[in-house]
């Protein structure tokens, strides 16, 4: 039993790291711009399809495709920012919410139109279905390599983003913009550029997550919805605007889902996650690491 329990914890952490990367982008965009990007899951879907088509049409493995999809998603983020988001940054928050919600519907339907509703999956990838066998506390456990890569890539991307925001000059400018747009502008920071950067970085994050997911997950136009709700919960638990908060929030959700589903009733595992969400909103609305405002 303990062997299985350790396996459950491993799986929970792996999934948690993947949820976290989706959540990190969401949190960054919210933290800097005050916009809840409801189209986030649909960008994830676009990232997955991007990696998928690179592999199918050009034979580029997702691991290499990462180097193409991530910048492409960054540029897509720029384009969306310039054409849509820049018009709603100063609008009431509800307007922004509805605009990104509409954008999500548009992207989803576009995917339906372009690629049909079919389920797809990549067969021959470099990592394939490889499994590492590890021995923990005397038991034998499995770690799926594509999942491990996704989780590892997710942690690496989060760490990189964290370093960028905390340690670089541009990152500090981002933080300043997040704290107070007017003051930041007075200090000579081009806040418009910061917004653009935050949005594009957020989208690039799901580009990374999407590409790594294509190694083992099914790809279809509605796939983003499966992730975006959990990402919202992760961001709430971690605290809106906090990068490491989103990471920890993601890991917590992965563990609750996995361990809760194993120990308790699997049908209620999602309910458990949302129960934690409600408790956090009631008891500590700013989350574990959120900025109070």
């Amino acid at each position: 039993m303990s062997e299985l329990f350790i396996q459950v914890v491993i799986e929970g952490l792996l999934w948690g790291a993947i949820y976290a990367l989706v959540a990190v982008g969401l949190s960054l965009i919210w933290g800097v711009m005050g916009i809840l990007n409801l189209a986030h899951g649909d960008f994830l879907m676009l990232g997955m399809f991007g990696a998928y088509w690179l592999a199918i049409l050009l034979g580029i493995d997702p691991l290499i495709g990462l180097l193409i999809v991530t910048p492409a998603m960054f540029i897509l983020g720029l384009g969306i920012y310039k054409s849509l988001i820049t018009r709603i940054v100063k609008a009431p928050r509800l307007t922004a919410l509805l605009a990104t919600f509409g954008l999500g519907i548009f992207l989803r339907n576009l995917a339906h139109f372009l690629w049909r509703a079919d389920y797809r999956m990549l067969g021959d990838t470099l990592v394939g279905d490889r499994v590492i066998t590890v021995s923990i506390l005397g038991g034998t456990n499995f770690i799926s390599v594509p999942k491990l890569l996704a989780a590892g890539g997710s942690l690496a991307a989060t760490a990189l983003l964290y370093w960028f925001i905390k340690r670089t000059k541009t990152g500090r400018a981002l933080q300043a913009t997040a704290m107070n747009r007017q003051s930041a502008a007075l200090m000579g920071i081009d806040t418009e550029r910061m917004y653009m950067l935050a949005y594009s970085l957020g989208i690039a994050c799901v580009g990374v997550a999407g590409t790594l997911l294509t190694n083992f997950f099914i790809i279809f136009p509605e796939v983003g919805i499966m992730f975006v709700l959990f990402a919202l919960v992760a961001v709430t638990i971690g605290g809106f605007g906090s990068i490491h908060g989103a990471l920890i929030g993601g890991l917590i959700i992965g563990l609750i889902e996995s361990v809760g589903g194993f120990v308790g009733i699997p049908a209620l595992k999602q309910a458990l996650v949302f129960a934690v969400f409600v408790i956090v909103v009631v008891l500590r609305p700013r989350g574990l690491f959120g900025w109070a405002d």
Binding site: A117, F220, L232, F240, P285
Partner: protein, 441 residues
Amino acid sequence: MKNKILLLCMAFILVAAFALPGCVPEVAPPEEEEEEEEVVEPVKIGAIYPLTGPLAAIGTEIKQVVELAADIVNNSYDIDLPFARGEGLPGLGGAPIEVVFADSKGSPETGLAEAERLIEMEGVVALIGCYQSSVTETASFAAERLAIPYLNPESTYPGLTDRGFKWFFRNTPHDYTFSETFFKFLEDLKEKEGLDHSEIENVAILYEDTLWGVGTSDAEKDLIAKKYPAGAEYNIVADIAYAHEAASVTSEVMKLKAANPDIVLMASYLSDALLFQKEFKALDFNPKAILAMDAGHIHPDFVSTLGADANYIFTREVWSLDLSVVNPLIGIVNDIYYERHGKNMDGTTARSFTGLMVLADVLNRAGSTEPEAIREALVETDIPPEDLIVPWKGVKFDETGQNMYGEGVISQIIDESWHTVYPSEFALRDWVYPQPTWAER
């Protein structure tokens, strides 16, 4: 801060309300009107299916196949199917069938609203749909209230015909019948393989947690409790319901591993069936056999997506391409569908096709588009097996509206395609039992 919480709640309501049933608001485009040369008005039939949302892949195929059936009725085809050789329905003065599609988005509430809209605004004379049992349940409620005949071709929740409805009829055999087939098959398997009873004793039941999956599992549990057939004994070692839109199914698979069953009885839609099969492999879960309740496991994408990893699943079926050896019509209709859409039909689309063909027969015999006349014709339906593309003994409804002659078969995925393995009169290939472990494949 309050603003933020308010906004967050709003975001959740938006995403959850729209996303969980997995859908996008979309109004089904009205069918294009025919040139007004014909004097005969087309007969309007409403069809409600999940055309967007997570089930859109299946819904779209059903729409294609229903259109194909209408096309076969409306135009002249050289096929041995009723109405194929002529144009339109002779009993209604050669009137063609016009199918008005509506999108349920996979949600029972939308299904209900669309049923009302089709009846009240579009003036359809009968309804078919909705694939998912949970949606059929609500949509047929609207038909019952508004007194319009409803023919359900593919929802298998047993309780649908136990509601005492006057206007509800169902073509397909339901899950109770199918579950009986499972257990009869297991007896046959034990006998032919010379297995001792204890070798297939521990059963895990794994099902999606909406009406269909739960109904199926109830039927299975009921049959196990009754020791069906003839005193067969099974232990249920795991009873696992799951939400079919979840991204991770790891904890469910781990629970299965902990229970270590001999066989797993599954009821899954497509995305969840795919995720489970991937996860079974990743976590090295090796039961002796997996018996699935069609749906996701008979969808062509299940095999095209998973390739060889899809092999050895047993699934109950209502149709199989290899049955065209027994019934050539199956191959002929499938060929036309393949030519138009580049895919083979499956047990779901074969039943949807049959649904519209049965309704054409009913309307033709009714000789009128009055609801009462159509209902009477439905009650009197008696279609012989040679007019069907499914391996049934025919179509004839009992007093609850259930087709008495529907039958199930069991197929196994071998070499990446479905082969009928039970009952023996349809079996064209031997089954593989037990399934090889993942290490052996």
